[in-house]
């Protein structure tokens, strides 16, 4: 059965953690010069599988064959020796070191015991050129945008002479421009004979890039199909059922203006931002990463200060830079960084759901724990949070269920204006649809929803109106009927809007406009 082109073969891998079986018989194979997509919902076991290959975990049972020979991978050194490199969602880069130092971290070329900077930087420059990114090897990693960080990671993998490159959701944080650039690089690597394991939740990327697809569900590999398999079929394999509609927006009759933002400005970050969101309406904000969308959302919510302008809810002004005032006015924020800003990961589902209502549930310094628990149970049920119980640590939930908890805490607080920042980033198809349904329920109940998203189809599919931001300004507004990929992108990359041409957001403008 040994195949000349076969790089890697996994047979019947099993892995369990206390109380959980993460993998239960997974088969997988990778050939030279192929992009093999790993598809599965969050929590299906993809991450556990790649951690086996990078040496972070050891399998309980099953075989791993590299070049037809059975191997054990006991640590990062083993996987490095076998030519397996992994690029995780959370980058393994040291922010205060330079690009070159990061690429050669721990393997810096040395001369007389000292680091040979010249050689290191020259070699790094060569690798960066091969990846096709225009970054100085001497730049500090902290100063780079997220897309470039990823290119540095790829360059690092190349420096290891990787034959197997594992990429865990590399496109999740990229704009569509950047995704295109990434694809060019990946295709080039494929031509060079590198085998690539590619994890993504974007089905359209599979046909565009992939060769074969292995679908994992509930810790088992449930199918290996060619990449040109229809999306419906892929979804059916992945979820175990078919999904009727990807963007089930049910528009309702919009009421009066609920959230009104006028002339909001923070010097150097965003300028003269004005818009309103009416009751029952979903307003999407599209734009490139770095266009100032998140900054505006945080300012509206009072998490960050602004210099000029005003925010009002239902006609009443809201004090700036005061989360308490914004919450009192009925504004809620689901932040873009779910784990870093939305959740207390080590606390329970119950604790997290009760966070926003903690003060309201306190009388004379004492918390009404029973009432909190009952409320949490009710909302968890309503949202369909899949958990072992209200006491389960939020850290151990899948991404989609974590996001439901973040949204749930605002539902408990009777939020009238909910700001969603990248609500479905890193969430699988099934859970996405559930969150869209939730948005429908909210607007049907008369709430206003402001949704920031870099996932263009999502913005187009779920918004009643679309605002496009570029370089800290609102570049334009489109109705649901007018909004298309092209019309939105045209606004998003537009420069010199308004009169103030000197406003310059540096790196993002360069990254965004390239190749368009």
């Amino acid at each position: 059965m040994s195949n000349q082109d076969e790089l890697l073969r996994i047979e019947g891998i099993r892995k369990s953690f206390p109380g959980v079986v993460a993998l239960d018989g997974v088969d997988f194979e990778l050939r030279r010069g192929e992009v093999h997509v790993l598809l599965g919902e969050n929590g299906a076991g993809k991450s556990t599988l790649i951690k086996m290959l990078s040496g972070a975990y050891r399998p309980d049972a099953g075989r791993v064959l590299v070049d037809g020979e059975e191997t054990r991978i006991h640590g990062a050194q083993d996987s490095e020796r076998l030519g397996i490199a992994t690029i995780y969602q959370e980058f393994n880069l040291v922010p205060d070191l330079t690009v070159a130092e990061n690429i050669f971290l721990g393997r810096q070329p040395r001369r007389y015991g000292m680091i040979d900077r010249k050689r290191m930087e020259a070699e790094a420059a060569g690798l960066l050129e091969r990846v096709g990114v225009n970054v100085s090897p001497r730049a500090r990693v902290r100063e780079l945008g997220i897309a470039r960080l990823q290119m540095v990671e790829i360059a690092k993998a190349l420096s290891l002479n990787a034959r197997v490159l594992i990429m865990d959701e590399p496109t999740a944080v990229l704009t569509s421009e950047e995704v295109e650039k990434l694809f060019v690089i990946v295709r080039k690597l494929r031509e060079d004979g590198v085998g690539i394991v590619f994890i993504t939740h974007h089905l359209d990327e599979i046909a565009a890039l992939g060769d074969r697809v292995t679908v994992i569900r509930d810790g088992k590999s449930v199918g290996r199909v060619p990449a040109n398999t229809p999306e419906d079929e892929l979804v059916r394999l992945m979820v175990g059922r078919s999904i009727e509609q990807q963007y089930p927006r049910e528009a309702v009759e919009a009421g009066g203006a609920l959230l009104k933002v006028e002339g909001l400005t923070r010097d150097g970050v965003f300028h003269d931002v004005s818009f309103e969101v009416r009751a029952g309406e979903v307003v999407g904000i599209a734009g490139l990463v770095g266009a100032g969308r998140t900054e505006v959302a945080r300012a509206v919510f009072g998490a960050d200060p602004y210099d000029r302008g005003s925010v009002s809810v239902a006609g009443a002004g809201v004090r700036g830079n005061d989360v308490g005032a914004a919450m009192a006015a009925g504004i809620g924020l689901v932040p873009e960084d779910r784990k870093g800003q939305g959740l207390v990961l080590d606390a329970s589902v119950k604790e997290n759901l009760g966070l926003v209502t903690l003060r309201a549930a306190t009388k004379g310094g004492l918390v009404d724990l029973k009432g909190q628990r009952a409320a949490a149970a009710k909302v968890a049920e309503q949202l369909g949070v899949r958990m072992t119980g209200l006491g389960q640590q939020v850290r151990t939930l899948s991404g989609g269920n974590q996001q439901k908890v973040v949204i749930g805490k605002w539902l408990l607080a009777d939020t009238r204006v909910l700001i969603l920042d990248e609500p479905t980033r890193g969430i699988d198809v099934g859970a996405k649809v559930e969150i869209y349904q939730l948005i429908n329920e909210l607007t049907a109940a008369g709430a206003a929803v402001l949704m920031i998203s870099s996932d263009l189809p999502e913005v187009l599919g779920m918004s009643d109106r679309v605002l496009v931001m570029a370089q800290g300004r609102i570049a334009g507004e489109l109705t649901a009927a007018e909004a298309t990929q092209d019309s939105v992108m045209a606004l998003a990359v537009s420069t010199n809007i308004g009169t103030n041409a000197s406003t310059n957001n540096g790196t993002t403008a360069v990254e965004g406009s390239r190749g368009h």
């Binding site: 959980v20 239960d24 509930d218 959740l343 207390v344 080590d346 966070l355 899949r386």
Partner: protein, 651 residues
């Protein structure tokens, strides 16, 4: 329908994992159980009601401090100031009630307010000044300690009797400190589990940004958290001082580390978000059981330290083993870069301010002593002991009389600090230097450096090894030890069992007094020494060690303590027995010691004349500075002071 792969396999593992689970779920508890079993097996005196209550008493102060620190650590902070704040609160209480005559109830309120105020300052610096908790509370550690020294002028102050009952027992057997510990523990558990503040601590510690974005007023909560820690520190300080009937400005030094260790041993993470009152209590008990058990087993002082360190590491290892088996480790995302830059700025600012203050004070100092008078430096090993305070008093009085400009420094029993001080002396143009070595050997190198500079060196109380001293002014410790042996043996009629409380292991005074005592006892074969344990010259430790030794040796008839402070601690432990069925003999003849001799609880003290030591040292220093000859050694006589002749020793 299934998205998650969470499958419980509890059934498969079966019942055998039941016990293992309970123990793994609470690593600290299993460590405590193992420790108790081990101690019971090794010492028959360990597992008795009395001894277990002793363990409780000895754990009480650490536990109450640790409860306060639990709040801070759960919210991902750290509080290094609790030991100092405890000492400051107790000092404020004693000073207000004893020295200022303020009603005791008001004084207690004042002490508690002091603790809360210190906590609020910490909280304010951290919340609004954006100082890292480590730095803010480290600053408070120093300020609190300094203020308690300022208020008490360096000497212990008697504690009001009504408050001292907190250190007594209820119904003759139930120690009040244990009750206080249990009560504070319940309060802690209640605050953590049920109150808004408690729930906010977990949220802030788990993810401060998420808590803020969920509407928690993080800054205000932090103020309250550190204030609570200050309040608990004040309570601990009052309990500590009432056990000794005395507020000591240097009390509870280093206790903050014990408290933090107790919290972490109890299963809390220094990263915040986890921690329980029960865990903290277990952590404090582990530390107390260890110290108690090692005393009972008469383990040498050196090995006690090794064992304690190893057990702390093991207890936390056990707990992290539990964590690993519980959940996989996920690395958190990189923190924001702005914080780090701000921290660097803060550190920079702190450094600049420190340099500025140091520069300013040295300038001021230099300005005041620009006259042509002879200058002399005196480096004392410590001022945490009335004996050395007396040396200073004698030296200062003589300096004033002779018109000498005398600079006194306190090495806080730290040889390296003393070395620094001697170094500073040589570079400030003194006519002579008087040194009271922290350790005869350890001070040698620094003393040799002084020799090289050509400044004459006078040693007082302890000799300096391997260096030239113009003269040594000292009491004869060995002779004193012999006299103590003779006095005690004769009082006991030549028969009996006794224990010895040793000074800090490795110090020359302890060696000489011990050697003299042993030599003196040779003449009395009927006297048997059943235990020798170090109590580090310290009254609190004297009390604890004596309590432990009494467990192992209930029938003793005599105690020799190598200084008066430890003797006074031992008398506390002996209670009514002191002076009746058990005779205690001390060393030094400090004012407190002489008072105890007068009232009969202390049979005798081998009196040195510390004021004389200080006086003669300065006198000789001036002579050598002026180039006059002195004797190589001046032995100031020691004298056994008993009730009969105590009136003659006014100090």
């Amino acid at each position: 329908m299934a998205t998650d792969t969470l499958k419980s396999n509890a059934g498969a593992s079966g019942a055998t994992s039941g016990l293992r689970r309970v123990l793994l779920d609470n690593g600290a508890l299993s460590a405590l159980i193992v420790l108790v079993i081990a101690m019971s097996a090794l010492s028959g005196d360990f597992l008795t009601t009395d001894n277990l209550l002793n363990v409780g008493v000895q754990a009480a102060v650490t536990a109450v401090l640790a409860f306060g620190v639990t709040f801070v650590i759960v919210s991902a902070g750290i509080d290094l100031s609790v030991g100092s704040v405890a000492a400051l609160s107790a000092t404020v209480l004693a000073w207000a009630a004893t020295s200022e005559g303020i009603p005791v109830a008001t004084a207690v309120v004042l002490a508690v307010v002091t603790g809360i105020a210190c906590g609020l300052v910490n909280g304010f610096l951290i919340s609004y000044g954006k100082l890292p908790p480590f730095i803010a509370t480290l600053a408070m550690l120093s300020v609190g300690r300094g203020l308690s020294l300022v208020i008490s002028q360096g000497s212990p102050i008697a504690f009001p009797d009504s408050v001292s009952h907190l250190g007594d027992t209820l119904g003759g057997w139930l120690p009040v400190p244990v009750l206080v510990m249990v009560a504070m523990g319940l309060v802690t558990a209640f605050i953590l589990a049920r109150t808004y503040l408690g729930r906010a601590m977990y949220a802030i510690g788990g993810n401060e940004e998420a808590a803020r974005l969920s509407g928690l007023r993080v800054k205000r909560q932090k103020l309250a958290i550190y204030a609570l820690s200050g309040l608990f520190a004040a309570a601990a300080g009052i309990v500590l001082a009432s056990r000794l009937s005395s507020a000591q400005p240097q009390a509870a030094q280093g206790y903050e580390l014990d408290a933090i260790a107790a919290v972490v041993i109890g299963g809390a993470s220094l990263a915040g978000g986890t921690g329980k009152a029960s865990g903290t209590l277990i952590g404090a008990l582990i530390l107390a059981v260890l110290r108690n058990g090692l005393n009972l087993l008469s383990v040498s002082a050196f090995w006690q330290q090794v064992v304690i360190g190893v057990v702390i590491a093991l207890a936390v290892l056990l707990d992290s083993a539990r964590r690993k088996s519980g959940a996989s480790v996920t690395s958190a995302g990189a923190a924001g870069g702005g914080d780090r830059r701000r921290q660097v700025l803060t550190y920079g600012l702190a450094a600049v301010v420190a340099v500025a203050v140091v520069g300013a004070t040295s300038l001021l100092h230099g300005g005041s002593s620009a006259a042509t008078t002879q200058k002399v430096g005196l480096s004392l090993s410590t001022l945490n002991n009335p004996f050395f305070v007396q040396i200073r008093a004698g030296a200062q009085a003589e300096a004033e009389k002779l018109g000498v400009d005398l600079t006194v420094t306190d090495a806080q029993n730290d040889a390296s600090q003393q070395a620094n001080q001697l170094q500073n002396f040589t570079s400030s143009g003194l006519g002579a230097i008087i040194v009271n070595p922290v350790d005869s050997d350890a001070t040698g190198p620094a003393a040799r450096a002084v020799n090289k500079s050509g400044i004459p060196l006078v040693a007082v109380d302890r000799s300096v090894n391997n260096a030239d001293t113009a003269t040594l002014v000292a009491s004869d410790n060995t002779a004193g030890g012999r006299q103590a042996a003779k006095a005690l043996a004769e009082k006991l009629g030549g028969n009996g069992t006794i224990v010895v409380l040793q000074g800090q292991a490795g110090t020359s005074a302890s060696r000489e007094r011990g050697a003299g005592f042993a030599e003196g006892l040779k003449a009395y074969p009927g006297i048997k020494v059943v235990a020798k344990q170090p109590a580090d010259w310290d009254r609190t430790k004297g009390l604890d060690v004596m309590t432990n030794l009494l467990q192992a040796n209930p029938g003793i008839s005599g105690v020799f303590a190598e200084n008066d402070e430890m003797a006074l601690g031992a008398i506390k432990a002996l209670g009514a027995k002191a002076g009746r069925s058990v005779q205690v003999i001390g060393f030094d003849g400090t004012p407190d010691g002489l008072k105890a001799v007068a009232d009969g609880s202390l049979y005798a003290s081998v009196a040195q004349q510390p004021k004389e030591l200080g006086r003669i040292a300065v006198e000789n220093a001036l002579r050598v500075a002026e180039g006059k000859g002195v004797e190589k050694a001046v032995m100031v006589p020691v004298k056994v002071v008993t009730k009969e002749n105590v009136a003659a020793f006014g100090g």
